[in-house]
């Protein structure tokens, strides 16, 4: 008898979602769907506003990656103005972007994923959380908190203390960095490096414990998309779009950002509010579940597609990372996102170190002025979770007539569904959902560190609910995790 099992909501990710696992008549998993049930209304909300407001508005979409939205938005506005952003403003934008990578990747690794990794995927759920981690290793807990705070503090130093400072603005930024702030950042960098290295060493030392997870947590062929520098280096703020296939062939070497709609299209499924982007030249398939144009973005994709990292410590780790690919192919298991995230954390700290030692960082020419010179503007960023697209259309007075936001979580939607299907097939037996299976499926989703609602924390908070339905729709099993 065919059955459907629902798991909701997924905890420790931004927003709320449920998971339905579909069984065939023999009780075997045939598919799993990641339902996103909260509607994102920001695109409609923005139409009718003036374009210079957008960096300040869009950064309020998300509490975890506001800097990515602010900078992607500012870049789209730069394009509408057609002005050249001063060099120092570009460096300051890069600085806070790397600061955001620091806080976001630290949150993802230490606070969201480490409890599973260190305490065990199927350990007691009452203690398999960061409190349990702290009790197991309070010194590491303190370091983890300070690492995240370091990233947050740089953002606050640069942008001010307001909750949503519209610091990046069309044509540049609003405020400079002070020498005293540079000294503070420099003083705190060594501990940040040390904490990251501790995490890296721990993960590499324990990889042998996760052999099965590597094979079953999203290990499948896919395309990889992201930004690279014009000469192919690892890039988070600007650059060109590159597409790599599952065998490592580069099929788009360096596409200009404003041509992104030539290669990406978005499909819609009736069971999810989240769209399903795919690589247009390979298509969405015939609806039987296999999508030729499925791609992944984010830490693994970025490390796969780049030719080099460009900083010493990250370069060393990138060489190790590449050994995880099979037969010289790109790294294919999403479980390696943990390692990729830590490598990027190291990369960001190295870039922060470079930027605060750059004499130009304190220059005061930080903004170019301009009006509406183009009626379409595109801003593309690498958010910590993956590639983020902002596209705006304005009339001649600068009023927004159209807004399209393609967020990293959307880009990974197909891959997330495939990942949870693979995990359910590997770990589910019978029609009962165990705590262990729940947590493995959740961990599979969290490998992509998704932001789903990115909007409100007050609505929709509920305990985890797991429901099992038979083919007739009758509820045959239910679990609630308080």
């Amino acid at each position: 008898m065919a059955q459907t099992i629902h798991i909701e909501p997924v905890t420790r990710i931004e927003g709320h979602a449920k998971i339905a696992v579909h069984l065939d008549d023999a009780g075997q998993v045939i598919d799993a769907k990641f339902h996103v049930v909260e509607f994102r209304g920001f695109e409609k909300f923005c139409v009718g506003r003036t374009f210079p407001e957008m960096p300040g508005i869009t950064m309020r979409i998300c509490g975890i990656c506001p800097v990515s939205h602010m900078l992607a938005s500012a870049k789209a506005c730069d394009a509408i103005q057609g002005t050249k952003v001063p060099v120092t403003a570009q460096k300051l934008r890069r600085l806070i972007n790397h600061a955001q990578y620091t806080q976001s990747h630290a949150l993802s690794f230490f606070h969201l994923s480490a409890p599973d990794l260190i305490l065990g995927m199927e350990s007691d759920p009452a203690t398999r959380n960061v409190i349990g981690l702290i009790l197991a290793n309070p010194a590491l807990g303190r370091k983890a908190i300070r690492l995240r705070q370091f990233g947050q503090d740089i953002i606050r130093m640069v942008t001010g203390k307001s909750v949503h400072p519209a610091w990046a603005t069309p044509g540049g930024v609003r405020t400079c960095l002070l020498p005293s702030q540079i000294d503070e950042i420099k003083a705190r960098l060594p501990e940040a490096f040390e904490t990251t290295e501790i995490a890296l060493n721990w993960l590499k030392d324990n990889y042998g414990s996760f052999t099965r997870e590597v094979e079953t947590y999203g290990d499948f062929p896919s395309l990889f998309i992201g930004l690279v520098t014009p000469d192919g280096g690892l890039e988070h703020y600007d650059g060109l779009l590159r597409v790599m296939d599952a065998d490592g062939r580069i099929i788009e070497k360096g596409l200009a950002n404003d041509r992104w709609t030539e290669i990406i299209d978005e499909a819609v499924e009736p069971w999810s509010y989240l769209k399903f982007p795919y690589y247009k030249p390979l298509g969405y398939g015939n609806g039987n579940g296999s999508v030729p144009g499925m791609y992944r973005v984010g830490p693994i994709a970025r490390l796969n597609i780049c030719d080099y990292a460009g900083t010493p410590r990250a370069e060393r780790e990138l060489r190790n990372f590449r050994r995880l690919g099979k037969d010289g192919k790109p790294v294919s298991s999403s479980f390696h996102a943990h390692y990729a995230r830590l490598i990027e954390l190291l990369f960001s700290l190295e870039r922060i170190e470079e930027l605060v030692n750059d004499p130009q960082i304190c220059d005061t020419h930080i903004r170019s002025q301009g009006g509406v010179n183009e009626l379409r503007g595109v801003g593309v960023m690498e958010a910590p979770r993956g590639t983020l697209f902002h596209e705006y259309h304005v009339d001649e007075t600068g009023i927004l007539t159209g807004v399209n936001l393609l967020v990293a979580t959307g880009n990974n939607n197909l891959a997330m569904n495939k990942t949870i299907t693979q995990i359910a097939k590997a770990y589910m037996s019978g029609n009962k959902v165990t705590e262990g299976l729940c947590n493995r499926v959740e961990h599979g989703i969290r490998l992509y560190d998704p932001c789903l609602s990115c909007s409100t924390h007050a609505v929709g908070q509920m305990p985890m609910q797991i429901q099992v339905f038979d083919a007739s729709g009758a509820l045959v099993d239910e679990q609630v995790r308080d």
Binding site: H111, L112, S162, H164, T456, H457, A458
Partner: protein, 157 residues
Amino acid sequence: MILIIAYGNSLRRDDGAGLILGQKLEEALRQRGLAVECIAVHQLTPDLALSVAADAVAAVVFVDTRVATAEDGQMDLQVQALGAEQSAQSLGHHVGPSVILTYARLLYDKTPPAWLLTAPGFDFDHGEGLSDAAERALDTLPAVLERLPPGWPLSAD
């Protein structure tokens, strides 16, 4: 020093009520001659434990919106005491105030008196500005403070 941590999303209507209420509370406590610092954030994150654990902090007030309906009759501002021993299970991007307090206790041995002040929220649609009901609730803050013990929030006496 009294630390106020106000949180919410001002683009989701009443979800931003906590941010405005935090500002009002800061002003009211300053008028009483108390040293106050207010942190406004989109949502609570683990690193706030460091702010709570700072030497100067004598009490913490978290200020948030709670989901309310006209039917449940809970249209007022509400104050409740918090402790680190309370729930520490909702972990992740959405961290609750008790989790922050738990961090502060376990990592820094700091347990200041802590409170949760909430405004009722009715409208969480996309948009700026508060619902009339939430606005009216915020206006009652002076009266709510008058009813609290004189030592609040430094103590419950």
